[in-house]
């Protein structure tokens, strides 16, 4: 019986570790999509000049926090709401400011705006990638280790 409980604890702890590590995957995905959108919009502004509606409607969005929020603000004209906890206040403010200003100016001002966001997003994306590599395995291993300790204690 103790072995069974220990194994269940091992699985649960590993899973909890995995759940904790998801925050980093979500951050990475968010900043990857944000950064790609920013690059795409720059190309659109300079060359084909498709509208943001067009870009959003044709983007392969899947289940994406980044696009969901952008769609709500731009396509559905609702207020900005971002409830995910993997971004800090400064990052949410940046995102809010971005959604409020993108598309709102002429070609020249928009290119400057998008270029100013480029460095910030590249840095964030790079850091989120490193964090994911660093912490994702750590949390899973930590969960597994705690589960293993429980198993050993129970046996």
């Amino acid at each position: 019986m103790n072995v069974f409980i220990g194994v269940v604890a091992l699985i649960c702890c590993t899973y909890i570790g995995f759940v904790f590590s998801k925050k980093y995957s979500k951050r990475k995905k968010f900043f990857y999509e944000f950064s790609e959108f920013n690059k795409k919009i720059k190309n659109e502004i300079i060359y084909s000049q498709n509208t943001i509606y067009f870009i959003l409607k044709n983007a392969n969005q899947g289940n994406s926090d980044f696009y969901n929020c952008l769609n709500e603000v731009i396509l559905e004209k609702n207020d900005f709401v971002f409830n995910e906890n993997y971004l800090d206040t400064e990052e949410i403010d940046f995102y809010k400011n971005y959604t409020a200003n993108i598309g709102g100016g002429d070609k020249l001002s928009q290119i400057k705006f998008v270029e100013s966001a480029y460095e910030y997003l590249s840095e964030k994306h790079k850091n989120s990638l490193e964090d994911e590599i660093k912490y994702k395995k750590l949390y899973v291993k930590l969960g597994f280790l705690i589960g293993l300790i429980i198993l050993i204690v129970l046996i």
């Binding site: 502004i45 000049q49 498709n50 509208t51 004209k77 598309g103 002429d106 070609k107």
Partner: protein, 288 residues
Amino acid sequence: MDLTFLPEKLYNCISKCNINSITEIRIRNGYKVRLKVGNKLYYLSNDGLTLLENQGVKCDYNDIQYIINNVTEHSIYAFNDKIKNGYLSTKDGIRLGLAGECVTDNEKVLTIKNFNSINVRIPHEIIGCSDKIFDYIYQSKIYNTIIISPPLFGKTTILKDLIRKLNLLNTETILVVDERGEFNHIKGENVDYICYSSKKFAFENGIRVLSPNIIIADELVDESDWECVKKASLSGIKIIASCHGSSLNDIINRACYKNKVFERFVVLKSCGQAGVIDKVYDQNYREL
């Protein structure tokens, strides 16, 4: 006619009117919305049209901004060339005239901001409104023709109907020079469109690559427009165009007017419907 770019409160009110009868919707910051039906002005109320000002629906800056955002699809950068020329157009060919604060640099308008009024011009398709004019334009051959009238007399509506008719002839290749995107919903197997470009670009490139027999252009305004028309006519291409004015003299006395280009001058008159001919002149300015 898709008017969903309007704020919901306006859209709901306008839905109660006969949209086909409306020619203009005038939306001004802080004022009641006014509608032009025929030659008369009405207010827009919750029940449709009214002559009573106190029942009118008022608009504010946010409503105007909402319309701009919707029409530009939240992408001013893609529409700024139009905005700085004072207009926007929807996919349905509805033209919005804009007024606001111009941002300038060395007297050159860079853009318009803080819009304070919008004039929504509802285009109408009246099949057959060019029947009488067509008889003058197309006899044994097609004549270079200019349609002259003040705004809102139906010049664009007539040109749309003429495109349809000329397309049905099936013998002509027609190039439509559509600077403002007002014709892009008129389709035809013999019709090519160049949209949203200057007349100069459309005429020069259109003639070179599309080899049209007829070019249709709306609203000749300045020297360069008339120059394009003259060059095209010298190439043997037939031109059908329109121009603001109230009489033949208004046109031929203009500094930019090019002599011996047009063979037919059609002057329209206002009587509440599009395409009513006042007078038609030949190339020697003799009334026909």
